[in-house]
Assembly symmetry: C2
Homo-oligomer: 458 residues x 2
């Protein structure tokens, strides 16, 4: 099969093949590994993507889409015979409609550019996470990304009004409406959201924007008992009435490590507690919101629901507080090798489940560091585990230690990051055989030749 197949569609400069592929890679963390592929194509329109897919369909060529290449589950890996479609030239913001509170974008637009464009008209695209400078809207949609403000605004699924996508045979499915409610038959955009490029290629989207908040408050809070974390979550959520936007739990040893690396991340609270919670509230009354927040914390202190609390007194304090939680490098930099997790489970069970994992992990030879923290209000906990070597047996032992108990308690091996290639072996721990059969039949109904991102998820 020859790359000249695509000459009619794209200019030669938009087709990368042969030795030139060495300048490309499959993940931002592996820029030193040259891309293994038949060729890489850079279409700039939905029509071009459709034409490419028609050729691939006719010639049985497998296709992998490359967005920002920031996924954490190996879902942009290639084996060598695939056509890679990079969305980097699908990078136009087509419209911002501030009355409809929508933004229409091509799928290669970088998340941070969406943030900036929304902010320029006093609006907010609330989806936010560490990789915002590289991750693209198409990748975000295909992974149903979450991040720091799911509690208030939802995951990507809740922030997308319209999608245009190209299916395996090159058909353009255009569901581009600016409307919030549409019950005219099946909501097919849901199929593309979170399907990791296995059901279609997203080329455009209409994003739902929110009014930008004008106040931001944050606090660190100390607890010794997990039950109090849960009851405090209920209390503060009820009393902030829609303003609570973040509720992040950090286990004591993680907090100690996160706050001991430099002055920039010095500890807001002393090392006296078993659990530290970082909460954030987004409001519209810069004058009152701080005082309201403080009164709520004082009441919780009085009734001993919380043991200690410190509020950010300035925007730079807020940044300091978040830097502690967000800069995962402060954990990873001290590890020889790391392995990370992204599980979810029912909120009331988190304290015991994670506590037990700490104990079992500590028994595993080769495990050097264990850090847990996460979006506890979403039931989503991350583990970062440092280990002495990259051996497969050790990796699997750690995987099983974290994952095996999830089935029984109705958890998931992936809250946010997806399955990709890394978690394929564990999918059956959190989905039933019947669910997986149904998923596979959807896949073969939409992609009968199995051309879209082959080998991922299943």
């Amino acid at each position: 099969m020859s790359v000249t197949l695509f000459d009619k569609i794209l200019d030669r400069s938009q087709i990368i093949s042969g030795k030139d592929l060495e300048t490309r890679y499959h993940h931002i963390w592996h820029m030193d590994q040259p891309l293994n592929a038949m060729c890489l194509l850079m279409p700039a329109s939905t029509q071009e993507v459709s034409s490419i897919m028609k050729i691939c369909f006719k010639n049985d060529l497998p296709v992998v889409v490359h967005g920002g290449l920031t996924n954490l589950v190996g879902s942009t890996e290639t084996t060598g015979n695939e056509v890679v479609i990079s969305t980097e030239r699908l990078n136009k913001i087509e419209e911002i409609d501030s009355s409809s509170r929508t933004m229409t974008v091509q799928s290669g637009v970088i998340l941070e550019h969406v943030h900036d464009a929304a902010a320029s008209v006093d609006l907010l695209f609330p989806l936010n996470f560490g990789a915002r400078g590289s991750a693209q809207i198409g990748g975000v949609i295909s992974t149903n990304a979450g991040g720091l403000r799911v509690l208030k605004y939802g995951m990507t699924r809740q922030l997308i009004l319209g999608i245009e996508a190209v299916t395996a045979d090159g058909t353009i499915i255009s569901s581009m409406k600016k409307i919030i409610k549409d019950n005219s038959a099946y909501d097919i955009k849901q199929l593309f959201i979170g399907s990791e490029g296995t059901l279609g290629i997203v080329t455009k989207a209409i994003l739902k924007l929110e009014e930008a908040p004008s106040s931001r408050n944050a606090a660190y809070i100390g607890f010794n008992h997990y039950d109090n974390v849960v009851s405090f979550l209920k209390y503060i959520d009820a009393h902030l009435a829609g303003k609570l936007s973040g509720f992040e739990l950090i286990w004591r040893n993680s907090y100690e490590q996160m706050t001991s690396v430099s002055h920039a991340v010095r500890p807001p609270l002393p090392y006296d507690y078993n659990y530290y919670v970082l909460i954030e509230a987004l409001g519209s009354h810069p004058q009152n919101d701080h005082a309201e927040f403080q009164i709520l914390l004082e009441k919780a202190l009085e009734k001993e629901q919380i043991l200690d609390a410190v509020m950010a007194q300035s925007p730079s304090d807020v940044e300091w507080f978040f830097r502690i939680r967000e800069d995962v490098n402060n954990l990873v930099d001290f590890m020889k090798h790391d392995q990370h997790f992204d599980i979810s489970l029912p909120i009331p069970l988190i304290g015991d489940y994670i506590g037990d994992r700490y104990e079992s992990l500590a028994q595993i030879e080769g495990v050097e560091q264990i850090y847990a923290f996460g979006h506890v209000a979403d039931g989503n906990i991350h583990f970062m585990i440092g280990k002495t070597h990259l051996g497969l047996d050790l990796k699997k032992e750690i995987d099983h230690c974290i994952y095996d108990g999830l089935k029984e308690i109705g958890g998931s091996v992936s809250a946010e990051h997806g399955i990709g290639t890394h978690k394929k072996d564990y999918l059956n721990l959190c989905r039933t055989p019947e669910e997986i059969i149904l998923m596979k039949s959807l896949k073969s109904s939409m992609d009968p030749k199995g051309l879209l991102n082959p080998g991922k998820i299943f």
Copy 2:
């Protein structure tokens, strides 16, 4: 085919056939029309539903599910040869977990019972609409119902964490997790939500509950220009920071009619304005929220964004304000025959689009009353049209008048109610041919014999 097929699964008292079917009906508004069906079955467990479907699959028997029978699009109609599965005995609330803020229910539980059960633990299931005393969770899920508080809490799709459903061949698909985030492969519950019983039978669900608000404020506001309605929506939404829960627009003539029937619905504002908006805010500070709301309205009055405003001063005022908007009978009772609509379109275009429809409808012979009102913040407007007779030509002329312009502006023929049988002819006005082909291929992949709710949607 004989009803004895089902004798092994259900007690005879749970199988209704022959003359006994005359006591049953297909819609709460047509209790006088006896049900046309092969039989009606009343299973009480997922297992029984599965066994029934296995028999139906083997014997090619079409199946229609009957929930609360309150849908507004003919989607529980039968032709006579169908097996009707009534969910009335699937009526157990299995668990309320106030720490996880979830409720696990069988699909036949009535929406109002869910409200009551949530309230008993100071939680809220926010989905709410006029038919709450009859509509069931299974029906609500299968229609992706909306209602009065979508703005703050979303449609049904956003309120469902887990689903158990039975597919056409009797397979039980159980996706019952209490977790908020789950990116472990495809989110197949999305398929069942809003598919009007054509892809599977929902037997259970896990509902997401919210902390109950402790303050409720409401106001009526007068406008002469639609543009100001839109800018006021942005203003009040930004300043209420998550508390705005309702923003309902009523056209002047509808307001006049809604407020002139009795003292119970007397007008809160005089008949001086072109548009009336009812807003609702749900908060957590009974003391402060009223004053905050009032200050926001005063500022809007000062800058002449709004022309007049009156706030509810007591809970009974709030009820009075909502009674005006909710009691659609005050419009319908004075019509010989009525025809109603449930369209959605981009918010900034609503003023002109509805204004034009008022003019064109007035030209149609046989149209006697025209009332528009709706969830404007969701882009969702209802029309209630009174007419002299039930003739099909008149119905179609009115349909076309309302629907035909929607395609061009990216609207939908159904914001909330679905397609059923009533809107099949208009589906292609708001979905592309490629979308409809994809939907049909999904349908035939999941229900290859076409047994589930045949003739609905397509």
